[in-house]
């Protein structure tokens, strides 16, 4: 018997993340940050984080010391931002053993705290990030202004310095062509929604990221509350679309979704893009109970077969074809194991 706990709203919400941007008040910001100052940022933060209650759970990873695949793997697992890799020479990350808390160093801002949890758990994610923020500011003061709040390198983040976001899986809304309407409503609420994977406006795997836009003029609690409320509404909307698709023709829905299971079970070559579409189908099927696979397991597997993570797993540089072969093989084996348990 495979036991697992479903996080709140995990049938639609894959994960919740809160990031806080901070800068040490006496050090120059990103554009003027010399290697010496960048090192000072790392030293201070490492010192302060290690001295916190759970400090020993963190590992320091300097981006310059990691292979390219290992860096990509961190991005694919949402432990660091893609932007951290724009500053590979100076940037670093402290990652907690559970992977739920990360401190990014020398990205666009000196320090970015991140709380990450499965499902819709924005409040707890925020609490985790704020707790670290409070512990650190007691040792080294962060740049702060009473009118403008926490000062960030880019004025678009100043104020709370907080970006809260959720990753949503919206196959039924997408199938019904409702995403346009959702996006319009979202924009009116001061929130933004965009495709998580894929270039431009294409949303691979029907995965979308919903986040707050403004950081100045609203409290952290207010933003979290508004984002949670909007997420809950989208969740309800998506669920009712799934139900109505089932009501309309359950056999056809099952047939369409389970064919993707068949492909994943027998394919010998699998591109990342094709996989995202198949993954969307089997996740949808699992949420409807057509397929007895645990959602948390599917989501972890999804991240594990992204290009960088595959490379780390292979332990060497692999060609695109080799990665398609390896992806197909891992999926066959691990999906089989997931449903067997």
């Amino acid at each position: 018997m495979y036991e697992y706990v479903l996080a709140p709203e995990q049938d639609v919400v894959i994960s919740s993340r809160v990031r806080l941007s901070r800068n040490y008040e006496d050090l120059p910001f990103s554009p003027k940050l010399t290697p010496e100052y960048a090192e000072e940022v790392i030293e201070r933060t490492v010192d302060a984080v290690f001295k916190t209650e759970n400090g020993s759970a963190f590992t320091l990873l300097r981006m310059s010391e990691l292979e390219e695949d290992a860096r990509s793997r961190l991005v694919e697992h949402h432990l660091i931002s893609y932007d951290l890799l724009k500053f590979v020479n100076r940037s670093a990350a402290m990652v907690s053993s559970a992977g739920t808390v990360t401190v990014m160093l020398n990205e666009e801002d000196h320090v970015r705290f991140q709380g990450l949890l499965p499902g819709l758990q924005l409040e707890r994610s925020a609490e985790m990030a704020l707790k670290l923020d409070e512990a650190l500011e007691a040792r080294y003061p962060f740049a702060f202004d009473h009118q403008w709040g926490f000062l960030t390198a880019c004025p678009a983040n100043t104020g709370t310095g907080m970006r809260a976001s959720v990753i949503l899986h919206l196959p039924a809304l997408s199938a019904k062509g409702q995403m346009g309407a959702v996006m319009q409503t979202i924009a009116k609420l001061g929130l933004t929604i965009r495709g998580l994977y894929g270039e431009g406006s294409e949303a691979q795997g029907h995965l979308y990221q919903l986040s707050n836009q403004a950081t100045l003029g609203r409290s952290e609690e207010d933003v979290i509350r508004a984002l949670s409320a909007a997420t809950s509404q989208i969740v309800e909307h998506e669920r009712s679309m799934r139900e109505s698709a089932e009501k309309k023709d359950m056999l056809q829905l099952q047939d369409r979704l389970m064919r993707s299971w068949g492909e994943l079970m027998y394919a010998r070559l699998m591109t990342a893009k094709e996989f995202m579409n198949r993954y969307s189908d089997i996740r949808y099927a699992a949420s409807m109970g057509y397929l007895h696979a645990p959602l948390p397991g599917l989501d972890t597997l999804m991240m594990d077969v992204q290009p960088g993570s595959l490379g780390v797993r292979a332990g060497k540089l692999i060609s695109p074809r080799e990665s398609e072969i390896l992806r197909a093989k891992i999926l066959r084996e691990e999906l089989q194991a997931l449903v067997a348990e």
Binding site: V5, A7, S15, E25, L27, P28, F29, S30, P31, K32, A98, G99, T100, E108, L117, P118, G119, Q121, E137, F142, A143, F144, D145, H146, Q147, W148, G149, L151, A153, C154, P155, A156, T158, G159, T160, S174, G177, M179, M183, Q184, A187, G190, T192, R194, G195, G200, S201, E202, Q213, A214, T215, L216, G217, R218, S219, E220, E221, D222, P296, T300
Partner: protein
């Protein structure tokens, strides 16, 4: 409403694209709109976007340009960054830049966030209830000053902010009353949920 691409400029266009049968809509500013249009093969909208842009922003852009020219020469004494440099890279050089470029930044922050007054937590205030209260106190002082100076428009803005903050504070305090039990419950599932 801000541009969904850059988040810096106000959105003026609603772009709808259909890719693999999925309809995707985005609200964009003229600059990002032009970038997007260039990616659509066969049609070059960049000119059209430019024309529309100049119509839409006609008056304000001329004013903006004049203002920008006025501020370009500003220099931050601490890090040496100029306002022109900031406009190019979009990032400030140090905490003091916020003071050095105060006037143009105020206008920029108003455009980006629709607000120029921080309402969140302040350092040292562990519970944000404290920070909201501190903000209210400070704003009340400002309000008195504004009334004394007969700046009624400013006073009205401050009054509205104070009102909004007071409502937040009330809500916050009523939240705290129910919180401990919630926390107990959520702590129990902690271990199980930490694996993703």
């Amino acid at each position: 409403m801000m541009c969904e691409d850059c988040g810096i400029r106000p959105a003026k266009f609603h772009l709808m694209t259909i890719i693999n049968g999925d309809r995707v809509e985005r609200n964009l500013c003229p600059t990002c709109m032009a970038k997007h249009q260039k990616q659509i093969p066969g049609i070059d909208f960049s000119n059209l976007a430019g024309i529309l842009n100049s119509i839409l922003e006609n008056r304000s852009s001329r004013e903006n340009e004049r203002e920008d020219a006025e501020y370009e020469g500003l220099v931050c004494e601490q890090c040496g960054m100029t306002y022109a440099e900031f406009q190019k890279c979009g990032m400030l050089g140090c905490a003091n830049c916020y003071q050095a470029f105060k006037t143009p930044l105020n206008a920029l922050l108003q455009r980006v966030h629709g607000n120029t007054q921080h309402a969140g937590r302040v350092p040292g205030g562990v519970h944000s209830g404290t920070s909201i209260r501190m903000n209210i106190d400070r704003l009340k002082e400002k309000l008195q000053q504004a009334v004394a100076d007969e700046e009624y428009e400013q006073a009205a803005k401050l009054r509205d902010t104070i009102r909004a903050l007071s409502i937040q504070l009330e809500r916050k305090e009523s939240d705290i009353k129910v919180k401990p039990r919630d926390r107990l419950e959520s702590n129990e599932e902690e271990g199980a949920n930490d694996n993703v």
